[in-house]
Symmetry: C2
Subunit: 330 residues, 2 copies
């Protein structure tokens, strides 16, 4: 199976269009709060053109599992609230000024409001889950939130440290990014009361998909091909973020190259030419290729995790989505 | 009944000493995480000599309600986790450098870690509640967390705005401070499966107690008596925080006085003499007295909310605790 990225997303949308519409209206409804700044700030980010990948994943997984109830859109909204809360806090922490081509909430309102509105969205997510009333669902989401923040703290601890191993990097990615994909996919099976094995395989699919997705994201930050598409590159390098291409290039580098990386990342001594040199080293050491190959393995494993399910349009769409994680804009 | 502050706290402690010890050991146990920075940072704040008022409130309320189970310490730990999470975020937001006479987490580790560890503590609190498995308890805590963050956003919105009404101020205090006291007290009755009326009266007691507590805290920030005890005063004035003494003094002030308040608070134009002038105006307009009288009314209402319960040592201790909110260090 091959497919262009846009048609994969279109195919996913087509499968669950009414559910996604309901999800969006629930998001809007439950963002409401007496204090107007909360919906204003929340809406700014939620309507900024995100792909809704995590809610879509939940909705398609539930449909694949033959879910017949009415709760999938509520849980999808919960997942998007949690995702949004983490983005609000991340942008404060990273001092990011733009996201999805728009000014970040912290750029527009300062740091205080996004911290608090993030807290509100976490709380609102749990209020909605309590209303749903399934302790197993609550457990999955609470565990996921703890995992996400633990992963974020781990990322902070290893930041600008070139001794970070590929394994530590993978742990950060699995915790801070992939765990929410995993929860979203798993909840599709949980809602449908499918077997523990099926729940576990969907959780595994989500984890591998989310990991591949982040590995590719991190790799593209060093991709000149991406630059020709008009996208910014080099953000991770400038922030001293330890990602897979960097770990690979550092481990493969000559002593001279390793000195460059230490100066740039650990001592934050960068010149106007540093990014160009970093990209050249990443290219010459095959580090971008290495990261993309790693992501490809992950997506293949993700696809294998779907084997337990009988064929269906939803399964095929999830299968394609895994490929899409790697194929997009490389 | 009269009593010095220290003996009130001692009396409360004596009633629930083993429960409080268990609470402290559960806090320590559940702060654990693979990433060491999480317990390090959490412990720094949790062990910094806070009075554990909220967990104590829950434990005493549960005992007053005749609770015979083993879950009170777990819920008390949850309440302390949520309190700690809000303090970590508050100190980042207020750029506070000291709390309880120690350096704040953000002063020691920067802003990033306390934001993330705060998120972790919220999540851990919900994990523990899911383990407890009572949806009514989960609902109370999730609602309280949403109320707290909503109150914090409201405080942000009205900050440095002298048009803030006493009613808006009271709403901020009820949401951001008193709601957690209210939940703590209510959970004592919920655990014990007491009637809705008793749950409601304990919730009301906690709300009024917490409100009185914060009103007094805010008033003491303008108290020269407090200054003679070696405590810092004037923080709220310097930060432009709108509190009850300020609202009263502004509303009662001459045109000249109101100009001073507008320059100091809304335009943040302060000189070396500004704080002394502010304290003098607060004194001469009787605004400190006004706030303390308001707090006294609240504590009396809190005491009345206990009327539904038969006499017991626990009830008497809660009755005294309400008085303590006003009597401490004025």
């Amino acid at each position: 199976m091959t497919s262009s990225s846009s048609s994969v997303l279109e195919r996913l949308h087509a499968l669950i269009a009414p559910d996604l519409e309901l999800t969006n209206s629930l998001i809007k409804q439950h963002l409401n709060a007496e204090v107007e700044l909360i919906p204003t700030l929340g809406t700014h980010l939620i309507n900024s053109g995100g792909k809704r990948l995590r809610p879509i994943l939940l909705l398609v997984a539930a449909k694949m599992c033959g879910y017949q109830g009415q709760q999938q859109a509520l849980l999808a909204a919960v997942i998007e609230f949690i995702h949004t809360a983490t983005l609000l806090h991340d942008d404060v922490i990273d001092r990011s000024t733009t996201r999805r081509g728009q000014a970040t909430a912290n750029a527009l309102w300062g740091d205080k409001a996004p911290i608090l509105v993030g807290d509100f969205l976490f709380s609102r997510a749990f209020q909605l889950l309590v209303g749903h009333g399934d302790l197993h669902v609550l457990q999955i989401v609470a565990d996921t939130c703890a995992t996400i923040s633990e992963g974020e703290v781990l990322q902070l601890v290893v930041s600008a440290n070139l001794d970070t191993t590929e394994q530590q990097y993978m742990q950060v990615v699995a915790s801070k990014t992939a765990s929410l994909f995993s929860a979203a996919a798993q909840l599709g099976a949980v809602l449908s009361q499918r077997s523990a094995a099926e729940q576990q395989q969907l959780a595994r699919y989500g984890l591998l998909l989310g990991t591949a997705y982040q590995v590719v994201d991190d790799a593209l930050d060093y991709s000149t091909t991406r630059e020709t598409l008009g996208k910014t590159i080099g953000d991770d390098f400038q922030e001293g973020k330890i990602t897979l291409p960097l770990i690979h290039a550092y481990s493969q580098g000559s002593e001279q190259e390793r000195t460059f990386w230490r100066q740039s990342i650990e001592q934050n001594q960068k010149t106007a030419d540093s990014l160009a040199r970093a990209i050249e080293l990443i290219r010459s050491r095959g580090s971008l290729h290495y990261a993309m190959e790693r992501a490809k393995q992950l997506t293949q494993q993700a696809q294998q995790a779907l084997a337990i399910f009988p064929d269906s349009p939803e399964k095929e769409a999830l299968w394609l989505l895994a490929g899409f994680a790697v194929d997009r804009s490389y």
